[in-house]
């Protein structure tokens, strides 16, 4: 791939971003663009897209940060052999994510949702030579995949209850869903989908694991975009599902626990990237908690914090990449005093870190103030929510200090290799993000008008316009902010003591990831045990089980049904009678012969006899097929005979097999008797006979049915034939190297 071409995705993404940006004005004014195409008409499923405030804010984040990430990736992995693959996967992910956040049909949304799951799996496992990356990818896939299935069930239930799959119509239904009988299962299923995707407790463990992905991937998927899909889903469903005790408390409790627990775990880490991963989980918990707040301020807090977090977190992730590249490590304990050697990296880290800690005049400050205001206004328990937010925010201040200050602080430079700033292609993106955090903090009106308010209107329709301000006067949120800074400073000073305490093995019980791994391992053991037991690989066993089951089914039906099993007397012509006797005699020979070849020929006679009987009843096509198949069976078995060991001389009588065979044969005979007892219904035959020539221009009705009337069945059957052939060839040639040349 030519080097210049690797920048193409970044350029395209930037163009997409600009396109979304020019829709901001119309959307803020209430003109919401919509597109839709019918997809599955019978089920009322459409491929529908809609760009309201909530969709637009996410689309802008996905495309804007996407453009920066694509540029960063092209430079970060310059000359890497798998750069093309990485860019392709990232582009596929970006498309899925854009589809997810703009979808207006529940099924459309789900399809793109699964698209992000699959691309995320491939991206986390990008370094697939490493066991760790493969395990992390599988873990992320299983957790989010199971959640995705729950979500699908939830969305289908919503569709049935609401009578439509259009999300914009569902949002207008008021409390139709909240009062429906299926409300509780719907909420549980939808929240399962959202909580697994957005790494809420107890599913939080996959996100830190997913840090096995390359740094730009983590910055994109696992901070700014994909993990927020759960938040997006909850926000999107809020008008239709929100407002109930179950919704409010479910979100508040899980969000709060996730938020506090993740910020504790963040302080435990020494790998900067892992630390950022836990702070991301914390932010996701906070967003969930405030979405459960069900108040105007909480919703404004969510909309603002979404933007704030995406900017500083993506910038910080990319900064960690810069440190990794420029100084050779991500371990905070091996970094220090880099202010002089990496001034640009330090600038970015400082700008983003101050926003993360929530210092004025950064946008992070406004975000934090709004969070406190929202916490005090929540419907559930303001004191609980505010305390949880205060604790988490204080730990966030400390974590911001660890990421943004400690690598650069101190007189003596400390790094594994001589540190220097990476090239402009790498730092320009994070710099832009970090500066935007400052710019929006100084001019919050822009953000309020074009982004926050349209988003709030989508989540909670009918909310009055909200102004964003840096200075709110002296009030409770400001006091809480000051307490946060104080507490955060103390935590930062005590970071070594805290880390040591948290890293004691007794701390925190059993990690969720360990439970997950143990569960997965025992499931695999069970699967391998059951496969070994059921699939023993012995043909005789398979045949015995198959025929035993068939026999039981046939006799079961005979016992239930009231059909007469007494054969009706019927004259049999002489020639068919001779053929039947021939068949019976040949079958008997197969049983008693000591020679495989002799048995094979006798089996051929059985087949030929059956073909003869077909011809007596003028089923000539079936007879020809039967004869040809018999010939092939004899040929194939004759080839295989060479490989089989010699037959034992002693006669081997197996009573069990004899019983199964007899019961099966008699059972089938009774089936034939029972079928013949019913009068023959000629309607189908007459239809085909009448329609064959005029409609399909063929006089051979059997063939016309096969290739025209019921051609779809035939297509399926030939596909099965081919698949069986591929499987047989694979099984026969497994582990063998084919020798060229004739046999000796």
């Amino acid at each position: 791939m030519p080097r210049l071409l690797t920048f193409l995705p970044a350029v395209v993404m930037a163009a997409v971003f600009l396109w979304f940006a020019q829709v901001l004005g119309p959307v803020a004014a209430g003109n919401i663009p919509e597109w839709s195409w019918m997809w599955v008409e019978g089920l009322g499923i459409e491929l529908a897209f809609r760009l309201d405030g909530l969709s637009l804010i996410f689309a802008l984040m996905v495309s804007g940060i996407g453009a920066i990430i694509f540029l960063y990736t092209s430079v970060y992995f310059k000359g890497h052999e798998k750069l093309t693959r990485l860019l392709t996967l990232l582009a596929l992910f970006a498309i899925s994510m854009l589809g997810l956040v703009t979808a207006d049909d529940a099924i459309t949304l789900f399809v793109f949702w699964e698209g992000t799951t699959v691309t995320s799996f491939l991206l986390v496992g990008f370094d697939h030579e490493k066991q760790k990356a493969r395990d992390a990818a599988l873990q992320a896939l299983i957790v989010t995949g199971v959640g995705g299935l729950a979500l699908m069930a939830g969305l289908i239930l919503i569709g049935f209850e609401a009578g439509t799959f259009r999300l914009s119509e569902i949002a207008l239904l008021g409390d139709t869903l909240a009062t429906s009988a299926l409300y509780i299962p719907i909420v549980i299923l939808v929240l399962l989908g959202a909580f697994t995707k957005s790494a809420q407790f107890p599913f939080h463990f996959w996100l830190p694991g997913a840090m096995a992905a390359p740094t730009p991937v983590s910055a994109y998927l696992h901070s700014a975009t994909m993990v927020k899909a759960g938040v997006y889903l909850v926000a999107r469903m809020s008008p239709a599902l929100g407002g109930t005790e179950l919704w409010i408390w479910g979100l508040t409790l899980f969000g709060a626990v996730t938020m506090v627990w993740a910020s504790v775990l963040a302080l435990k880490q020494t790998d900067l990237k892992l630390m950022l991963a836990y702070t991301t989980v914390m932010a996701l918990g906070a967003l969930m908690m405030f979405l459960g707040g069900d108040s105007k301020y909480a919703t404004v807090g969510v909309a603002t914090f979404l933007v704030v977090h995406a900017m500083y977190k993506a910038a910080l992730f990319l900064t960690v990449g810069l440190l990794d590249k420029g100084a050779g490590t991500r371990e905070v304990t091996n970094l220090g005093g880099l202010a002089r050697s990496m001034p640009i990296t330090m600038m970015i880290a400082l700008l983003a870190g101050l926003s993360m800690a929530g210092f004025p005049p950064f946008l992070g400050f406004i975000g934090k103030e709004l969070k406190y205001e929202g916490a005090l206004a929540v419907m559930s328990e303001p004191l609980f929510v505010a305390t949880a937010a205060l604790l988490a925010n204080a730990m966030m201040v400390a974590a911001a200090g660890l990421v943004a200050i400690s690598p650069f602080w101190g007189k003596t430079p400390k790094s594994p290799k001589p540190a220097k700033d990476p090239s402009i292609g790498l730092w320009i993106g994070p710099m832009m993000l970090a500066l935007m955090g400052l710019g929006f903090g100084l001019f919050p009106d822009l953000l309020a008008k074009y982004i926050v308010n349209p988003t709030v209107t989508s989540i909670a329709p009918g909310t009055a316009y909200v102004k964003l301000k840096l200075w709110h006067g002296i009030n409770v949120p400001l006091v809480l902010s000051l307490i946060t800074f104080g507490l955060g400073f103390v935590l930062y000073q005590g970071r070594f003591v805290i880390r040591a305490a948290l890293n004691r093995p007794t701390f925190g019980g059993i990690p969720a990831a360990v439970v997950f791994d143990a569960g997965l391992a025992s499931f695999k053991r069970f699967a391998s045990w059951s496969a070994r037991t059921v699939q023993g690989g012995k043909m005789t066993v398979y045949l015995r089980i198959s025929f035993a089951v068939l026999t039981i089914l046939i006799w079961g039906v005979h016992l239930i049904s009231t059909d007469s099993l007494v054969p009706q007397p019927e004259a049999i012509a002489l020639i068919p009678l001779v053929v039947v006797l021939l068949i019976a005699a040949s079958a008997f020979v197969v049983l008693i012969t000591n020679s495989r070849l002799f048995g094979l020929c006798a089996l051929g006679v059985v087949g030929a006899g059956i073909a003869l009987i077909f011809t007596f009843y003028s089923a000539i096509d079936v007879a020809i097929t039967q004869i040809l198949v018999e010939m092939l069976v004899v040929i194939i078995l004759a080839v295989a005979l060479v490989k089989l060991p010699a037959m034992p001389v002693e006669r081997n009588f197996r009573a069990g097999d004899a019983l199964i065979a007899t019961a099966f044969g008699v059972g089938v005979a009774f089936v034939v008797v029972a079928v013949l007892a019913h009068p023959f219904d000629p309607r189908i035959t007459e239809f085909y006979e009448a329609a064959s020539l005029p409609d399909a221009f063929g006089r051979n009705v059997v063939n016309v049915i096969l290739v025209d009337f019921r051609a779809l069945d035939t297509l399926g059957e030939v596909a099965v034939v081919l698949i069986a052939a591929i499987a047989a060839v694979a099984a026969l040639t497994a582990g063998k190297i084919r020798k060229s040349g004739e046999k000796p």
């Binding site: 097929t625 080839v639 060479v642 063929g698 290739v707 051609a711 034939v721 081919l722 004739e742 046999k743």
Partner: protein, 150 residues
Amino acid sequence: MNSVILRTATRVLVPLLLIVSLLILWRGHNEPGGGFIGGLMAVIAVALYAIAAGPNAARRALRVDPLTIAGIGLLAATAAGLWGVVVDGAFLKGMWPLLTTAPDGSKAGLPVGSVLLFDTGVFLTVLGSVSAILFALEDAVYAHSHREAE
């Protein structure tokens, strides 16, 4: 297998079987026959050749890998189905490009179209799949007997 009778007979029988198999495919729409039966008959020709001259010679005689033949067959059958989609919006709808409708509603011309393509697809799939299994089996047996000889 080294038998003079078999080798001589094969020289006559294989082309004969192949021609008959094509005939059966062609006439299947009106007389007993069709793609499935024709395919089976062609396989028997291939099997006969493989027994007389060895699987490698049979492979060379086929020129194309049997699984590829089967794949082409499945593609042809699917294409016959898509033909109907493109022209008339219905999967597997019979297409008769060489038939014209007379004013009185009766049809005239050659009844050849998507249905024959479909049946040819069935023919090729059966021929390719069964030949592939047969060759793989012969290889396995050959490798087995070769190992025992050592």
